[in-house]
Symmetry: C2
Subunit: 340 residues, 2 copies
C-alpha cells in the first residue's frame, strides 16, 4: 500500500486504559486530529501475568474496526481502509503490571493492522503528553492518589504515587484521611481537632465512634478516605482553620513532588491534572504559593488535554517521526519496526 509511506494520509490509534474502563480514539496521523472515540466501561482485567493482553485486545481490536468503518467515506474504503500507522497505549499499572502487554501487543497489532510502530506508556506518561505535549516540564496527576512526572526530554523523573500508606502525599485519600483524623481529635477533645470536620464526618459516615467499623472492613479504603476530601475543601472554604491547614500541608506535599521532577532549566512548564484539583481555591491558592516558592523558574499552565489526547499525541508523533518524549523501559516503551 503506497499510502503507508505517506503519513499524512494515514491514521493513528490512541488508547487510555484505567480503573474505570477503556477509551479508544482514531485520529489523523498528521496533526493528531481525533476523528472518533469509543468508550468501554469494562476495566481490563489483571491476571497472574499482570494486565491481561487477551482481555485488552478483545476490547480494542473490535473498537478500532468499528471506528475505522465509521470513519470510512465509502464502501470501497471501508473494505481496505486507510492504514493505521502507529498506536499508543497508556495504561494504569503499565510500569509494574505491563509485561504481558509489552510481550504480546506488538505482534497482535502487526497482525491485525500491519502496524509496526507502537508506544506502551504508563498512564502518568499519557497524562503528561495530554497536559504538556512534548514540552519539558512536570505534570502532577491528582485524584484518590497522587503522582508527579517530569522530563527534560532526555529522561523521566517520577515522584510519589506510592499509595495511601507509603505516600500519595497531598492526594484525595491523604486530604480525606487528615480531615477524618481532625474529626476524631475533636471527638476525643485532643488538640488539632475541628468541630466542623467532625460534624461533616458524622453526617457522611454516622456517629464518630462507628467510623472504624465503617472504614476498616472496606476493600476500597483509599476511595472511602478520598470521598471526604471535598468536605475538607468545603470546610476550609467556610473558614475552618484546621481544614485550611490540612489543605496547606497537602499543597506543600504536592509542590514537593513537582519540585522533585521538574527540570531545572528556564521555560519548564507545570500542569495539574485530575479530579483532585477540581476542589478549587481552598487547595489551589496554597498550592500556587507553594509552587512559586519551590520552583519559581517554572510556569504553571492549564493542561491542554486529557490522557486519551496524550495517547493520540504520542501515536501521531511516532507516525510522523517527531517523537521527542524519551523512551524508558517501564514508563514509555517504544516499538518501532518501521513501515509495514
Amino acid at each position: 500500500m503506497d499510502s503507508v509511506n505517506e503519513p499524512a494520509e494515514g491514521l493513528v490509534v490512541g488508547v487510555d486504559s484505567g480503573g474505570s474502563g477503556l477509551r479508544v480514539a482514531l485520529a489523523e496521523a498528521a496533526g493528531g486530529t481525533v476523528l472518533d472515540t469509543l468508550t468501554s466501561r469494562e476495566p481490563v482485567r489483571t491476571g497472574p501475568g499482570g494486565i491481561s493482553a487477551a482481555h485488552f485486545l478483545e476490547q480494542v481490536l473490535p473498537a478500532v474496526r468499528a471506528l475505522r468503518e465509521r470513519a470510512a467515506t465509502g464502501a470501497a474504503e471501508a473494505a481496505t481502509g486507510r492504514p493505521v500507522l502507529a498506536v499508543a497505549v497508556g495504561a494504569a499499572g503499565m510500569a509494574t503490571l505491563g509485561d504481558e502487554l509489552r510481550a504480546e501487543l506488538p505482534g497482535a497489532f502487526a497482525e491485525a493492522w500491519g502496524v509496526r510502530r507502537l508506544v506502551l506508556a504508563a498512564d502518568a506518561v499519557t497524562a503528561y503528553a495530554g497536559a504538556l505535549g512534548q514540552r519539558p516540564g512536570a505534570v502532577v496527576a491528582g485524584g484518590t492518589g497522587m503522582i508527579a512526572l517530569g522530563t527534560d526530554l532526555a529522561s523521566w523523573r517520577r515522584a510519589d504515587g506510592w499509595g495511601h500508606l507509603l505516600g500519595d502525599c497531598g492526594s484525595g485519600a491523604w486530604i480525606g484521611r487528615a480531615g477524618l483524623e481532625a474529626a476524631m481529635r475533636a471527638h476525643d477533645g485532643r488538640r488539632g481537632g475541628s468541630a466542623g470536620l467532625l460534624a461533616r464526618a458524622e453526617k457522611l459516615f454516622g456517629p464518630a465512634a462507628g467510623l472504624p467499623g465503617a472504614l476498616y472492613p472496606r476493600t476500597d479504603r483509599p476511595a472511602v478516605l478520598a470521598s471526604f476530601a471535598p468536605e475538607v475543601g468545603a470546610c476550609a472554604a467556610a473558614g475552618d482553620p484546621v481544614a485550611a491547614d490540612v489543605l496547606a500541608r497537602a499543597a506543600a506535599h504536592i509542590a514537593d513532588a513537582a519540585e522533585a521532577v521538574c527540570p531545572a532549566g528556564p521555560g519548564a512548564l507545570v500542569a495539574l491534572t485530575g479530579g483532585l484539583f477540581r476542589m478549587g481555591d481552598p487547595l489551589l491558592v496554597p498550592l500556587r504559593a507553594a509552587l512559586a516558592e519551590r520552583i519559581p523558574h517554572a510556569r504553571t499552565v492549564a493542561p491542554a488535554g486529557d490522557p486519551l489526547a496524550g495517547a493520540v499525541g504520542l501515536a501521531s508523533a511516532l507516525a510522523t517521526g517527531t517523537l521527542r518524549l524519551p523512551d524508558d523501559p517501564s514508563l514509555l516503551a517504544l516499538f518501532d519496526g518501521g513501515a509495514a
Copy 2:
C-alpha cells in the same frame, strides 16, 4: 459454703484476652497475690456476634479448673476448692465486640463456680488498672496502635485508639509509616527524605520500588508498618534528623492523647505501657518534654504491673468491696450479684 462470706479465704480470677492469646491468673481475693497463671496462644475467635463467648469459655473454664487444682493443698480441698469470689476479664475489642461476652459470661461463671461478681473490661481498662491501680490519672497504651485512657474516679475519658488510618497517632504503625514515607521521599529526591531510613527500608523489605507490592496485599498492614518503627528509633539514635523529627511528632501526638484524658486536679499520675515505649530514649526524651509541656501538673510514673495484673486487681477490689474505678457500659461493665 461459709467461706464465701469470708473474702480473705477466697480466690479471684483475672483474664487478659488479646490478639496474641489469652492469659488466666488465680489470685488471693484479699491483696490480690497471684498464685499461678496459665497462658493460651490461641486468640479468642471473633464471630458474627463479636468475640465468641463459647470459644472464650472453652479456654478459660478448663484453665481455671487446672489452676485451682494446682493451688489446692490436699486432695479434699481439690475436690471442693476454695471459692472463687470474683472474676475480672479484660479483652481487646470489649467495647465494640463484647456484646456476647456481656450476655453470656455472668451466667456461665455463676453456673461453673457460683461466682456472681464479675467485671468485663476493655483491655485499655485492665492496662490502666495494672499500671496505676485505682488511682486517678492517665495511662497511654502503645504498641502497633495507641490509646489513652484516663479517669478522675468519677468517669472515664478515652482518646485515640481509632486505628492506623483514622488515628493511633504516635503508635508503632504511625512511626513506621512516617519512616517509610521518609524513605520513599529520599528515593524520589523529594524534600523531607532520609537516606538512612531508605537504606534500612531496603534492607528490611527489598528495593524501594517494590515496597507497595510488599505492603498493600498484606492483611496485617498495621503490623508491617509497625515492624519498621524500631528502625526509625535506631536511625534517630544514630543522629538522623528526619527520623528524630518523626519521633518528636509521635511524642507530641502521644502527649496530645494523654492531655485529653488526664484529670485536671493535682496528684494525677501518668503511665506509659506497652511495647512502643521499649524504643527508649529516642522516643521517651521528646515524650517526657511534651508531657511536661502539656500536663505539667501530672507526674509520670512507671507502670506497676501489666494488664493481667490489672484484671487481678479489679477482681480483688470487686471481691473485697473496694472497687473505686468507675463503671461504664462499654469500658467497665460491672455484674455484682452478691455472694452466691
